[in-house]
């Protein structure tokens, strides 16, 4: 296997045509990923027919380069414009955008790029070493486990915003309710649609995020007194001091491991991985006090998780032949077109194919780093554009991005409505991120709770009798009752003394 891998790697790395293809893929992925409304999935799907004419190895290299660099590309627009370029970049803007506003755009991008590369490498290392083990873990995940992980995520997230936990929880639950609009996930019956075709398609995540963060930021800037709008932040230095970077190794590692594991669970996806990585950091980081106002710990963890998730999501694809998310589904489609069937027999039957994938991920990481570094200087120039012009550009991108994801004008209205809501939230000093969490995790929670109960014929004990599900629920419970219990016991001992 190692020999095959090295053969393939050197074959790729010494062929100028392959290197050109790699660079092109990385550049395309970076640009497409940075454009709001073009997700990694769409970037891959659009390029799919092009790859059919290529040789199989070249096609895999090209597609994985696009996939990998679109992950970082999504962060560029999140950091500079508060417009997540891909759904998985929603947590990048939480800390990245305040950094950019504070004149540290260059550093924020560097942090994101470095975290992305390290996360990607760790994800690849775990993919290479732990695939059989993680694939076995993944096959233990049934509906009750999916439900328990989603609940765990919601609990973590209610603690992850500054300010009141109760307020964050309520806003998160509103997000869960919004996720119920449209077709019932299990019966296709209509809910909360009031017979309106526009509501039947549901409120989807991308327009909500673009409105809630991107458009709301435009509205906020417009509502400032005139002269303040015109203030331009400085770019700041681009390089990150090595000492600062060394201090952030732990969040990157935690993010990478979380990203790989959650990525390996079929159907969880990168948006869930980044949410949990951010929430974990909110509790564990020594710098957690600065979260929400541009703390790099909160930027590098989700970035690393997002990138590590690429390796993670390849685990069920390669070992089980099951695409874990929509991105790997497109990748699998591309492999099928080349007559390659990922699945349980893959490792034994086709080691070259496995080597292609490993080598492609490694080279794609390097290419993303190179293209990303080369683009840093140009990317930060965006912050030099006069704000009057920039606000218009961002607003236009909000409309295009919301429309492009499903080619549906209703999504633009949804985006505008959530833009207004985001602005109102800002005025009332309410956190907007829990709403996005609720919308991401709510449908997963609902679908799996209901399906678990259908299978158990209404017996709720399925959630505690299965060890993994029960474990997640226990941790969630401890997270909720732990802090007040500790506070209460401290009070009690104080009184007793």
């Amino acid at each position: 296997m190692t020999a095959t891998f090295l053969d393939v790697l050197s074959g790729f790395a010494t062929d100028p045509a392959m290197l050109a293809l790699l660079a092109l893929g990385a550049l395309l992925g970076l640009v497409l990923g940075a454009i709001p409304g073009i997700s990694s999935t769409m970037a891959l799907a659009v390029m799919l027919p092009v790859t059919f004419a290529m040789e199989t190895g070249a096609a895999i290299l090209f597609l994985i380069a696009i996939f990998m660099s679109s992950v970082y590309g999504g962060s560029i627009s999140a950091i500079l414009l508060k417009l997540p370029g891909t759904p998985a970049a929603i947590f990048t803007q939480v800390e990245g955008y305040p950094m950019a506003r504070a004149g540290r755009a260059g550093q924020a991008l560097s942090y994101a790029l470095i975290a992305s590369s390290i996360g990607g490498l760790i994800g690849l290392a775990l993919l290479v070493t732990l695939t059989p083990l993680l694939a076995r873990v993944a096959t233990n995940f049934r509906s009750p486990e999916f439900a328990a992980v989603a609940l765990f995520g919601l609990v973590m997230l209610s603690f992850s915003s500054n300010g009141s936990t109760i307020v964050a929880t309520v806003i998160g639950l509103i997000g869960v309710l919004i996720g119920m609009i449209g077709f019932d996930p299990l019966t296709d019956a209509q809910r909360f649609t009031m017979g309106q075709p526009a509501l039947q398609a549901g409120i989807s995540l991308v327009p909500v995020i673009i409105g809630l963060f991107g458009l709301a930021e435009v509205l906020r800037a417009l509502s400032l007194p005139g002269d303040r709008v015109l203030m331009r932040p400085s770019i700041g230095r681009i390089t990150v001091p090595l000492r600062d970077l060394a201090g952030r190794v732990s969040p990157m590692l935690r993010g990478s491991v979380i990203g790989t594991f959650i990525g390996a669970i079929p159907a969880a996806g990168s948006a869930v991985a980044v949410s949990i990585a951010y929430a974990v950091e909110k509790r564990l980081s020594p710098n957690r006090a600065g979260f929400g106002s541009g703390e790099p710990d909160g930027l590098v963890a989700p970035e690393a998780a997002n990138s590590a998730g690429v390796g993670g999501s390849l685990i069920p694809l390669m070992a089980l032949g099951v695409p874990g998310d929509t991105i790997t589904a497109v990748l699998m489609g591309a492999l099928l077109l080349h007559g390659l069937q990922p699945g349980p027999t893959l490792f034994a039957a086709n080691p070259t194919f496995v080597a292609w994938i490993y080598a492609s991920v490694l080279l794609a990481l390097v290419a993303t780093l190179v293209v990303g570094l080369a683009s840093l200087r140009f990317a930060v120039l965006i912050t030099r554009v006069p704000p009057r012009v920039m606000l218009i550009v961002v607003a236009v991108f909000c409309v295009i991005g919301a429309f492009a994801i499903r080619n549906d004008m209703n999504d633009v209205y949804v985006m505008a409505a959530f833009g207004l809501l985001g602005w109102v939230f800002h005025k009332l000093n309410l956190p907007a991120t829990p709403l996005a969490f609720g919308l991401i995790l709510g449908p997963i929670l609902e679908e799996n709770v209901r399906r678990s109960l259908m299978i158990s014929q209404g017996d709720w004990s399925v959630f505690i009798s299965r060890p993994v599900a029960g474990g997640f629920l226990l941790i969630s419970l401890l997270l909720v009752i732990g802090p007040p219990a500790i506070r209460y016991s401290r009070k009690l001992t104080a009184v007793l003394e």
Partner: protein, 326 residues
Amino acid sequence: MSRHATTLFAATGMLAALIAPSAALAEYPERPIHIVVAWPAGGGHDIAARLLGASLSEQVGVPVVIDNVTGAGGSTGVRHLEQSDADGYTIGLIGMHAISQSFMNPNATRLDALEPVAYISDDPGALQVTAATGIETLDGYIEAVRADPGALINGNDPQGGNSFVFANALSQAIEQPIVQIPYQGHAPNVTALITNEIASATLPIPPVLEHYRGGTVRILGVMSPERHPMLPDVPTFREQGVDLVANDFVMIAAPTGLDPQIAQTLSAAIVSAVESPTFAEPAERNGMVLRPGDAEMAASELQRQVDLIYPLLESAGLVSAELARQ
């Protein structure tokens, strides 16, 4: 081949320009053709449309653009198609979802608002069980499900999806209720088979093929008149004495009111595009059973499917009152 075809079409176009009264009509197609796909990028329909787009573009000499207009069980995309101009520049890929939604969802497009243009492929249903059930044959399955219907849980689409229709058709053919648990899409349904959350599934062949080869999933029968080309060793239901034929399909439709000449050009171009190796080779590798046909054949297939699906939806109580047939 494709250059010849392009020349041929160009020649036809010029000839038509001399005869036809309207120059605009004669020049069809003169700008990009859009194919509406009702499902997200990367799914089976999307991949089929993108491959077809590449091939059709070679045939007609104009670019072909794929528009994913998704949501509401496919009905948003079909409605988008219905509301487009019937000028031959917007066509759509439809399957069984369009039929189901037209009876279940009062807001969905009625089938008479669409005009079949060409037929592309069949996607037969099949019955799979996990290796853990120990069941080897269709008879073994029928016996087990009769003995204890609750023991064999079947995973399938939510109401109206193709594997839902297949599960109900199976239930009717073996005169035995089947416990059904819905999954959103085929990938999570396959995952549930592999994790043994469910015992059986009624998915089409392509998503389970590799698991069948790997031995984790057994395929007990295919719901087509002839054996599936990718599975020559698996018998059909009919071969095993159960009269069950059910399949999903892929066809191209347009909003009604297409100019007959444009319809004809389009239909012929699509059929050639499907037969061309640009499309046929990758599509067959992807598990599509190609059966290209013109507008007339597509219309009769659509009617046959309606006759199959309507009674199944009706007996499951899913037909919306205002859409019920008299």
